[in-house]
Symmetry: C2
Subunit: 121 residues, 2 copies
Amino acid sequence: MEPVVASTPQWRSPCPIASGLDVVGDKWSLVIIRDLIVHGPRTYSEFLDAPEKISTNILAARLKWLHANGLITHVDATRSARNNAYQLTERGAALRPVLDALGRWSHQELIDVHPGILSID
Amino acid sequence: MEPVVASTPQWRSPCPIASGLDVVGDKWSLVIIRDLIVHGPRTYSEFLDAPEKISTNILAARLKWLHANGLITHVDATRSARNNAYQLTERGAALRPVLDALGRWSHQELIDVHPGILSID
DNA sequence: CCGCATCCGTTACGATACTG
DNA sequence: CAGTATCGTAACGGATGCGG
């Protein structure tokens, strides 16, 4: 019985940078993590409201992947007013410095080629 | 006449994080940047020697992309002992803090799930 | 409705053979 | 040595359906 989504990456090498990319180096993972850092716990449809317009099947697959890799969990539905929401684990929240550095790079280096870019958020 | 490789990203949103990912958020760009930061100017075949084993067509496409986006340039072949090498621009070198943060995250958070991971490099 | 899963077309990746 | 051509596979993206 093959798993729908692999639970762990195929490590390309022992390099920490490549290994980090093996976990969050796809097109959407860090965008999802960004939403969780900026807004806190977030529901499926709230992720869909983000301006990047991820499609529903991709979102479901990425949430499954991030959960399997211990970066997010479900909010306990019985204990929270917000049902069916996702939140960051410690491991996921620890990505904040990466997002900060990336945001700063983009803001400094991409303004001329992407005039509409926002100053940090 | 359609370009073989688009010269500029399709921006998903005005968010700096998403925009940074639109430039270097693929599977290989930051691995190539890492090699250039660690080793300095690097030739095509030296990139191929990296442990991640990128295939030749992908490497050529990514080098073209990174050049089109101003992150790398060719070393001046007439002035250098090392012909046909690539090097970082200021814009590319400015990604160092991103790689540092990612490397630290991986080293701290992925040791248990990836025992062979190296301590920074 | 909300949270997905399924179907299917399109785009990225990957292994390998090959050329200037 | 530095790529290109070819062709197969995997990821992505839009539309739609379906259970709770």
